[in-house]
């Protein structure tokens, strides 16, 4: 990698680190972070594929309350750099993902450290508030943000300077049973993300929709967009029906000018 690429990688990694805490622009999502690393190093296509694959695994990774999810930022930035340095192109995606998961755990640990250090930062803000010093509060806010950025940028920079052959050798020394097994595991790990999401959303009322989605997905002719259209339509129909059902119940009688509601009411 030349010096310009390294500099750009540093910037991308910094942005990913910042977003890992802010959760606003979503630079830290694998889809975006891996693609950007790919673009600045001239390896767009394999990195986009890596991003897409990692993204599917990371769908349910979210920071809820004080809990911190596995760190998508370090996982995607570092695995993309390793993919680029390994020089295997698309063939290297599986082994790059194998590296990404332990890194997601390492990144989780790093952000917890910074979140603890930030306690000291807000105490500095308290002192500045005492003197109504607006500028100082702003500066401390920026310092805290930069710490989160450097959390990813520094490891990324270090990875850039480890020799290419070292990275390539380490990857090539991985036996097939391990990388193949890891990619089989990767196919299953997606379920954890979905399980997290379902646990948050599932109610007795919404389970039937899960079942319909599951059954329809087996029809391989339906694209994701078609499935989405069906889902939106059903949600609208359901809301409309439950609303009119509510009106009938509240009125205590039929004749609401909603024939379907009346029919449904008669069946009860």
């Amino acid at each position: 990698m030349n010096i310009v690429s390294v500099l750009l990688v540093f910037i991308v990694a910094f942005l990913a680190g910042v977003e890992g805490i802010l959760d606003e622009f979503e630079f830290h999502q694998p889809l975006v972070a891996c693609t950007l690393i790919g673009l600045v190093t001239g390896n767009a296509v394999p990195c986009i594929i890596l991003g897409g694959t990692l993204q599917l695994m990371a769908l349910g990774w979210a920071n809820i309350g004080a809990a911190v999810s596995p760190d998508a930022a370090l996982a995607s930035v570092a695995s993309a750099i390793i993919l680029v340095k390994g020089g295997q192109g698309e063939a290297g995606v599986a082994s790059a993902i194998a590296v990404a998961i332990p890194l997601a755990v390492a990144g989780l640990f790093l952000t917890m450290v910074i979140r603890t250090v930030s306690v000291a930062v807000v105490h500095q803000m308290d002192a500045a508030a005492e003197k109504a010093n607006f500028g100082a509060i702003e500066i401390w806010q920026y310092i805290a943000i930069c710490l989160q950025g450097l959390r990813i940028a520094i490891p990324a920079l270090a990875l850039c300077f480890v020799s290419d052959t070292l990275v390539a050798n380490a990857l090539n020394s991985m036996p097939a049973w391990l990388t193949e097994g890891m990619s089989i595991g990767g196919g299953m790990v997606v379920a954890v993300g979905y399980a997290l999401v379902i646990n948050m959303m599932a109610t007795a009322e919404t389970w039937p929709f899960f079942a319909i989605g599951f059954a329809l997905a087996a029809v391989s002719d339906l694209t994701l967009i078609a499935l989405g259209t069906i889902a939106v339509s059903m949600a609208l129909i359901y809301l409309k029906l439950s609303e009119s059902g509510g009106v009938v119940a509240a009125g205590g009688q039929g004749g609401t000018g909603d024939p379907l509601g009346d029919i449904l009411d008669d069946y009860e």
């Binding site: 805490i21 802010l22 959760d23 606003e24 622009f25 889809l31 975006v32 986009i48 594929i49 991003g51 897409g52 993204q55 769908l59 979210a62 004080a66 596995p70 998961i101 755990v105 989780l108 930030s118 306690v119 807000v122 803000m125 508030a129 109504a132 509060i137 806010q141 989160q148 049973w177 890891m182 089989i184 595991g185 990767g186 196919g187 299953m188 790990v189 379920a191 954890v192 993300g193 979905y194 999401v197 948050m200 959303m201 009322e205 389970w207 929709f209 899960f210 319909i212 989605g213 599951f214 059954a215 997905a217 087996a218 994701l224 967009i225 499935l227 069906i230 949600a235 359901y238 809301l239």
Partner: protein, 310 residues
């Protein structure tokens, strides 16, 4: 109140909205989003209060504990701006009232914001983007990034304005119908899509061979290589026979894997069971990281040549 002394201009409110992007920047284990919240409020505090004492009191007021989903902080900011404006104009708005509104709203709104954004909007958009990205198309990341940020910025600005306009009445408004409907519709949509994703994208393929039947085919059902005409004529005949469904070899082996049997039962049954198992484990407070690592170990072990189940 038409004769307010000081009022927040649209530019002030826009500035607060932009700064709320950094809400989580100094997220800490003590008071969580307090630093970012105070940072976002600075343009308003500067506009509304002129004396050092008032400014200092306002800054301290907004360095109290705060934590919610970062996007739904926008309507809370809106309400708080309205309250601070009233207070600066002499209305008897106590510190406790402002704190009460913030704390009272952050919990319920996070309950809406987390599932709607983190577990519905982002997974759906990201899955859409990823499906393009898997084919190496840059359209995937672009779709995700552009749509997400349009959605987010629009939400931040309009809900903050909504909060500002409705002011203290917002809490009543949230318990009304519209928000409930949006939440319910979003969770129906989300569950449907999740059902589809579990079927399509959780992959477990049992390659273990359960039966392997070898059969000798009758003449005419396989290409009789020995008796083909020579040259291109022969190639033509072989290809047209093959296209007509004639077998290449006399002996064929029909291999049935465990997966074939499972697919004839219910396609996607194993992914579904795995997902249900994960939900159960998560409910028992087993950390997602542990489950993820365990699944990798299972994948590697079951793939080992002498087991060969997966």
């Amino acid at each position: 109140m038409a004769d307010k002394k000081v009022q927040l201009s649209k530019a002030d409110r826009w500035s607060v909205c932009l700064r709320s992007t950094f809400l989580q920047g100094s997220w800490n284990y003590e008071r969580m989003q307090n630093g970012g919240w105070c940072y976002a409020m600075i343009p308003a505090i500067k506009r509304l209060y002129t004396t050092k004492e008032e400014q200092s009191a306002a800054l301290k007021r907004h360095l109290e504990f705060f934590n919610t989903q970062p996007y739904v902080a926008a309507p809370i900011l809106g309400v708080t701006l309205a309250l601070e404006e009233d207070r600066a104009n002499g209305a008897p708005v106590e510190d406790a009232a402002i704190q009460g509104v913030k704390v009272g709203m952050m919990g319920p709104l996070a309950g809406v914001g987390d599932p709607v954004f983190w577990f519905t909007a982002r997974p759906i958009l990201a899955a859409l983007g990823a499906s393009f990205a898997l084919t190496g198309s840059i359209l995937g990341p672009i779709i995700f990034f552009v749509f997400w940020n349009i959605l987010r910025m629009a939400f931040l600005w309009y809900t903050q304005e909504f909060g500002y306009n409705v002011g203290t009445a917002i809490t009543k408004n949230l318990s009304g119908g519209l928000l409930g409907k949006i939440t319910k519709g979003a969770s129906i949509l989300g569950m449907f899509v999740l059902g589809a994703l579990v079927e399509r994208w959780v992959s477990i393929n049992f390659v273990k061979v359960v039966s392997s039947v070898t059969a000798e085919l009758e003449p005419g059902h396989f290409i009789d290589w020995a008796n083909l005409p020579a040259g291109s004529e022969g190639i033509h005949q072989a290809l047209s026979q093959y296209a007509g469904g004639v077998s290449l070899e006399q002996t064929v082996t029909a291999v049935t894997t465990l997966q074939d049997n499972l697919n004839s039962l219910i396609p996607g049954l194993m992914p579904l069971l795995l997902t249900l198992l994960c939900m159960r484990l998560l409910k028992k407070n087993i950390s997602p990281i542990m489950i993820i690592l365990a699944l990798f170990v299972i994948g590697i072990v079951l793939h080992l040549p002498f087991i060969g189940l997966l």
